[in-house]
Symmetry: C2
Subunit: 537 residues, 2 copies
């Protein structure tokens, strides 16, 4: 049987646009001789559409699109598409199933309902969907194809095993599986186990694209019953992979090689930013560039995501900004070929100093500089329709080393889930790939500083980033308590101080712009902690 893995990038809520794309890809699959075309989970309404799934008129619109698509399916091909199926009688507080429509011969032949609904990490599917209770399969060209959706196969047993036990030779698994670093490898390992348990071929078809905080990385694949990868689709891009099952001996199957680790993270960030810009209809992005490593990374990401002609960089020096960092900032803009604007902030600092007198001291004086810059960026955004990118990294967001309404002002926080140590690695790797210093070496080598007072260094207030990032990984990503961390060899005093800082910064993070998740636990829908919280760690 010839199978098409249809790895598409739909847009949440764009039911008509998604349906048009699916129709075009069904044609492409047919033209390639496919007998079975598999599309990702919930590709008609988009995923995750969150509380849109609670709106009955949204459900009605996505059903109408499925029915219209079915009419266009000519004999000879079976198509699996994901949609939100309204519950008859209305359900409880939920009104829908997370379903797969089997389209063939101009009609919806039947519907499979996802059995296992994830409700952890970034997932809230039990808020929206009623679980299905039956396994299901469909007959394609004389072969039985088991139907599952994403989470259904993330543990043994369940509807995948049941379908295999009932004779399925191929298990299809349309998915909406979001990225974190190394996730593609995890999936191939785990689904390899499933293929062996099922003793069947296994077709994983993932979404690709950015949706607010999430990136779907694609990397769909077809596994043989022994778990080996027969074909693999691209990461971070749409891809149509057509492959015959069983493969003729020696026949080549299309297989994209997985990207190396740092390039993979970089690719996720580029796609997440690109899609946030494009799906929200922004024509241009702007960012403040300081000459520091964080804004340097965001600058290259922006240029790689939307092109230099759609990026403006703004240098906003204060009396505390060194000539060297300003020069580096301007050099980065020149290297990348973007517009560069220059707005010294001293006149406005003087205005506030005059109005506020001795109120403006210490922290208040530092923050006002960041906030003047935030105001300038937002004025430029108001005037020019820019999406303003913020440049804070995960280490800073964790401990609250950032100014609300200052450097945190903006619509998208591109690297908010990238720890500082990884920021350096990504910049170095990007320079390496460019074969030249897109980011000057001095930016990488200079000790980090917010430059909000004379001779300020991050290390005045924070532990070394190597140590900080290790503590943060244990506390934020692995939910460890101080006892566990200290037992693992981390220094008690610093651990306690970091925990205190992270907990106290919750109110800032609550008002932060969304940004792209690249770790197993990002701030956002992934880590939900109260602001009012007296538990120390």
């Amino acid at each position: 049987m010839r199978i098409a893995l249809c790895q598409i990038n739909p847009t949440v809520g764009d039911v008509d646009g998604n349906a048009a794309k699916i129709a075009a890809w069904i044609e492409r699959a047919r033209d390639a001789g496919a007998e079975l075309a598999i599309f990702p989970e919930l590709c008609v309404p988009g995923y995750p559409a969150e509380d849109l799934y609670l709106k009955r008129h949204f459900l009605a619109a996505n059903v109408a699109a499925v029915e219209e698509l079915a009419k266009g399916v000519e004999p000879g091909i079976t198509v699996l598409i994901g949609f939100a199926e309204p519950a008859e009688g209305g359900g409880d507080y939920r009104h829908a199933y997370n379903s797969l429509a089997v389209l063939a011969d101009g009609a919806v032949q039947h519907v499979y309902r996802k059995n296992r609904l994830p409700n952890y990490s970034v997932f809230d599917e039990q808020r929206y969907f009623i679980p299905g209770e039956a396994a299901d399969a469909t007959e394609v060209a004389g072969t039985r194809v088991g139907l599952t959706i994403c989470e259904d196969v993330w543990s043994p047993g369940g509807p995948g095993q049941a379908a295999a036990d009932a004779g399925a030779r191929i298990v299809a698994n349309p998915s909406g599986s979001p990225y974190h670093r190394g996730k593609g490898h995890e999936r191939e390992e785990m689904f390899g186990e499933r293929a062996r348990e099922y003793d069947s071929y296994f077709a994983f078809v993932n979404l690709v694209g950015g949706q607010d905080e999430l990136v779907f990385d694609g990397q769909s694949f077809l596994l043989a019953p022994d778990g080996s990868v027969l074909a693999r689709a691209a990461q971070f891009d749409e891809d149509l992979v057509v492959v015959d099952v069983p493969l003729e001996d020696g026949a080549p199957a299309p297989s994209a090689e997985p990207l190396p680790d740092l390039d993979e993270v970089y690719g996720a960030l580029v796609l997440g930013l690109h899609d946030y810009v494009e799906k929200n209809g922004f024509r241009h992005v702007g960012l403040g560039i300081s000459g520091g490593i964080d804004s340097a990374l965001v600058a290259i990401l922006a240029v790689d995501a939307v092109g230099p002609e759609r990026v403006s960089m703004v240098v906003m020096p204060s009396p505390h900004s060194s000539e060297e960092t300003q020069d580096d900032a301007r050099q980065i803009a020149r290297n990348l070929g973007t517009e560069l604007l220059d707005f010294p902030i001293e006149p406005m600092m003087d205005g506030y100093a005059e109005a506020l007198g001795d109120v403006l001291d210490g922290l208040a004086a530092e923050n006002i500089q960041a906030r003047i810059r935030g105001n300038l960026m937002m004025a430029l955004s108001n005037r020019n329709g820019w999406l303003v990118l913020t440049t804070g990294n995960k280490s800073e967001m964790s401990v609250g080393y950032a100014t609300l309404y200052g450097d945190m002002a903006g619509g998208f926080a591109v690297i908010k889930d990238v720890p500082k140590t990884l920021v350096y690695q990504l910049v170095e790797r990007r320079n390496e790939r460019a074969g030249r210093e897109l980011v000057p070496a001095a930016v990488i080598e200079r000790p980090p500083s917010a430059e909000l007072r004379p001779d300020q260094l991050d290390s005045d207030s924070l532990p070394d980033y190597d140590l900080l990032d290790r503590i943060l990984e244990a506390y934020v990503e692995r939910d460890q308590g101080s006892g566990e961390m200290v037992a693992a060899g981390l220094p008690a005093e610093i651990v306690d101080e970091v925990i205190r800082l992270v907990d106290r910064a919750e109110y800032k993070r609550r008002q932060a712009a969304p940004g792209i998740r690249i770790t197993p636990k990002a701030f956002g829908r992934d880590r939900r902690l109260p602001i009012t919280n007296r538990f120390g760690g």
Copy 2:
């Protein structure tokens, strides 16, 4: 049997503090001769503690507290307390049950596990807890007491009915049931049905207190088997209600009368603000006061919540601020007896105008005024440790009629769930209760204006608030589509425009401060929509 309804206000995460409070209240209940003392749901760890429930060391701390409390329970009284019970073997991604410990004779006698876990609206209990599967009861002084927790009894059947069928004469229902307008009445109606179905007494014991967005209103009660209210605890305050079952004929039971509608909403706002301030350890709050109705309401609420000596008001006039509104602002501060600070913003407006030139036009020029004010408030906060209160109402937050990092700058958005029409009613009612014009009549009568350009009125940009609030209620609170709204008589063109505005403002709301939920659907954990969303309505 003598029952004590122990309506306490715990703090999320403060396991030791909560346990100490519970121990003290057990003593009070014993002193009053109670044989059964019922505390609210999850009162030991606090509720909702969100992802704290995923931390194993947090679970361990709350178990230790329960065991310690049990040791102190002397013969003659049975105590029901809510805690998060770690799952043996660790569970799946969840590690705990939402449980009730039955304490008597110095030990935990047994544990009931909540069967029905709500996962809709503001609730995410299926993210945290494994459902229990058995009904349960305990014997107190020869009477069988059925054990349930909150959601267990929100529909017929289930563990409440099972316990009654097995002979329970009283069904206990420790709860964490958050407030919305009119909720107390809804509960008494619905639980009256349960009491009749069970043919038993029904003891609802609710949390009281504010927790970030939520207010728990208390209003615990004891119902007779015919559904009538035998005793009722206070709203918005801790209360110990001791009552005998069955009541002797003619014996009086302690019963607080429910507050009238507007006073109830007002009470919820005062408690929510009070607890946010106190539980987060703020000594002082500040707000910008414009002479408009919204900041007037927040000002009175602040004074009622923490007292005038802990409130500072800041007048920040621009050249567009009329003398009348400034005078009214100052009058309100005088009427309420708070500190009043004055910072004209023109010098800073000039600074930005000089630096930005023709960038500063139209919307940018309007927003910069709001952002200068935001900066001033935050500088005062940095200097003095204030919690800054924002003053935007629900109507404005819905349509995005607010400036990010400007009037939206602050830590707590007190009235963000209060529609504009209700803002007026609350101020009028508060004046009435005061017997004088705490808020001058001119503030109530003047047409609303943001005063960001000459002669600006809200009605230049928005429909009349009466109409706007009707559309918002249908769209935001009831998830209706435009077709449904127009069919109900709302004007099509305005409906479509309001939907567009609400959808487009999602990115602003994502960066808004948390505020107090008083309607059945607030912005926040209650309404989760993607920013990237092409569905029109």
